[in-house]
Amino acid sequence: MAPSDATVAVALPRSLSSRRARELMTGYLYLVPVAIALGGTIVVPILKAMHMSLFNYVLIKPQEYGFVGLGNYTRLLGDETFWLTLWNSFVWVFGSVSLQFLGGFAAALLLHQSFRGRAVVRTVTLLPWIVPGVVVALVWEWLYQPNYGVINDVLLRTGVLRDRVAWLSDPGLAMPAVIATNVWRGVPFFAIMLLAGLQAIPEDLYEAARVDGAPVTRRFWHITLPLLRPIIIVATATRVIWTFNYADLIFVMTGGGPANATQITSTYTLLMAYANLDFGYAATLSVVLLVIMLVFTVLYLRVTRGIESVT
């Protein structure tokens, strides 16, 4: 048979990119707006701050503007106030987060119980978290006011104090006072997170433990705590990062004073930027803050990766 009439398969022209590649390209295109937004609002400012940290950039001295290399970093190493603020930041973060966690855990365990009016109590517990930070700071500043504040008044009337205490004006008390305010504000965050975790623990486990005669402490230690571990780590790590950068409360309540007793690195950065208008040095402080937070975030990611694989 002559092959002339037979249908001959002709290869279709191949497109330049494979289907897989096109799919990938489409996916990346969808990400472009987000990438532009994140790049423009996060990456570019970070790069700009790094660039700025290499310059002597004091806004009121434009004639002295110039490249100083690592000059600002050298200055930072010799800056006693910076090291003080770093220590203060540690006290501030550790004090705030640990007490918030303890308070939040206690509140979550209470709210997990059945009692009349539980919904109302849960809502009220959330209130400090809802109030804006600056409002919290102003309210507590008034509560702490030594001459006509409510706290001194109550403590004097009940005989707890004999003399008025300058809560925010005494260098030894100012940091505990602002930490107490931050604890008040942050307890609901932990309470709600941990309450959600508690509600997710199957009741069967407790039932089985009870049948085996495990007392409440052992049930807490061997069931509640291990099963809440992922939430505890995520909530604590998130809170540590927030608190480290959280300048509003201190800025409003004490302005970092008295005598730098409550000056943390983030408020010191604000001071350098907006009082001294020393943008070069403020950028250097920001970069150092970024590095500290990056180290912490890497540790956090390593820990949480383990948790994800477990859960």
Partner: protein, 434 residues
């Protein structure tokens, strides 16, 4: 839209703002109808930045701008209100971004910084021909003169004096001091005024903000000290240390000040007196009108600062200025508006409403200022008032607050001695001489 609503939203807002102006001040002067004048086509408006510590000022300045706009048709003045705490950085950043307002209200201690940035309009030649030029006191011109150039109008001036509770003094049998009272008498009064059982203290010392250091410096001057001597920083001299020691001891040893001193700023000392917690405090005349509302005009008086062991006393004199910028878009308009604000009626109303003193002699001599006991302490302090020594170097402006105040607070709470504080403070000043 419902026809019954004859006012547009803009008209309604404008009417409410106008009503607010009248209600806020309760002054017949402001009760004229607000008629919006026509403007020359294409005229560049004048941007005037004003920092706003309180609603009364906002209403007053808005009213002044409207009056000016009614008085001429060439251009419009637009007021840009910014919070006082951010006024300086907003101005500096706008200068750096080459977009400053045409003119602004700033304290004299900022003008040097702006001049250092090459941003301020030199008014020297214009001021020479200005109709009220000779009526302004020479010391007021000094506050706005940098390197021989007049850079601003001294809109209002003031100096520091002592506020004194006359009713409490009568109640406690404290003899009102003579005008030439001494440190010893000051301390004795502070002790007599201190009644811990009543939560009352003799003296409301300031521990926060630039003026915390300025008030302490006034006491150092009364002991014969100086900040600069022969062009060199001399703020840590023996006289300065002794003077400061005495001043700090009012809080540290004598316990005649409230415990909140280390964090008490301007608001803290004014409210402390107003709420009856303190019975004396040092401030300029700017809080006298507030105290008339707080404690009542008959219940307080103002006095000059006490005389120190060196048989002298000093009150720092400063001004709230009107300053124009070189890169303003309507420099001629800015000049005309600023000059108008210095005219009799606007200047008188601004000063009187805010409790500050006019820089112009003819206005300061009016009975509203010269005869009011709330101003007496300040007016009597003029003979020994000097321009703040911290105006000598532009670089000192911000450093006083960011580095000087934390050091001063350390001295207040006993972490540094007066000598240690002044040595460190002298280093800060010496490093920032520009």
């Amino acid at each position: 839209m419902d026809d019954r609503w004859a006012l547009s939203r803009r008209q309604l807002l404008r009417t409410m703002a106008g009503a607010g102006v009248v209600a806020a001040a309760d002054l017949a002067w402001w009760e004229e109808p607000l008629v919006r004048p026509g403007r020359a086509w294409g005229a560049q408006p004048v941007r005037f930045q004003f920092s706003v510590p309180e609603p009364k000022r906002t209403a007053l300045v808005e009213s002044l701008a409207q009056r000016f706009n009614q008085a001429q048709k060439d251009f419009e003045v637009k007021v840009e209100f910014v919070p006082q705490a951010q006024a300086r950085q907003k101005l500096v950043t706008s200068i750096a971004a080459n977009n400053p307002p045409d003119c602004c209200q700033v304290w004299d201690n900022w003008v040097g910084e702006f001049e250092g940035m090459g941003a301020v309009e030199d008014l020297t030649s214009r001021v020479r021909d200005w109709k009220h030029g000779k009526d302004v006191t020479p010391i007021a011109w000094q506050t706005v003169t940098v390197k021989g150039k007049i850079l601003s109008f001294p809109w209002v001036v003031t100096n520091d004096g002592v506020y004194w509770r006359t009713d409490r003094a009568r109640e406690y049998g404290i003899t009102p001091p003579r005008e030439d009272w001494t440190w010893d008498e000051f301390r004795a009064a502070a002790k007599a005024f201190t009644k811990l059982d009543k939560n009352q203290y003799g003296f409301g010392m300031r521990g926060q903000g630039t003026w915390a250091i300025l008030y302490a410096t006034e006491f150092m001057y009364a002991n014969g000290a100086q900040v600069l001597k022969d062009g060199k920083v001399a703020v840590n001299s023996k006289e300065a240390v002794e003077g400061l020691e005495w001043y700090l001891d009012l809080f540290r040893k004598d316990k005649v000040c409230p415990p909140s001193v280390p964090t008490d700023g301007w608001r803290g000392i004014v409210e402390g007196f107003g709420r009856g917690v303190t019975n004396m405090y040092i401030h300029n005349s700017g809080s006298s009108e507030e105290q008339k509302d707080f404690v009542g005009a008959p219940n307080f008086a103002t006095l000059p600062l006490p005389i120190g062991p060196a048989k002298k006393r000093t009150s720092f004199y400063f001004s709230e200025t009107l300053t124009a910028f070189r890169n303003g878009k309507n420099r001629e308009g800015a000049w005309r508006f600023m000059a108008w604000l210095m005219d009799d009626e606007p200047n008188f109303m601004y000063c009187k409403t805010l409790g500050l003193l006019p820089a112009r002699k003819t206005l300061a001599d009016r009975p509203e200022f010269a005869k009011d006991p709330a101003y007496a302490g300040f007016i009597r302090s003029f003979p020994f008032s000097i321009v703040s020594p911290y105006l000598a170097h532009a670089g000192w402006g911000g450093k006083l607050d960011s580095e000087g105040v934390p050091l001063f607070q350390q001295a207040l709470v006993g972490k540094l001695t007066a000598r240690e504080f002044l040595d460190k403070f002298a280093d800060v000043l010496a490093k920032n001489m520009t």
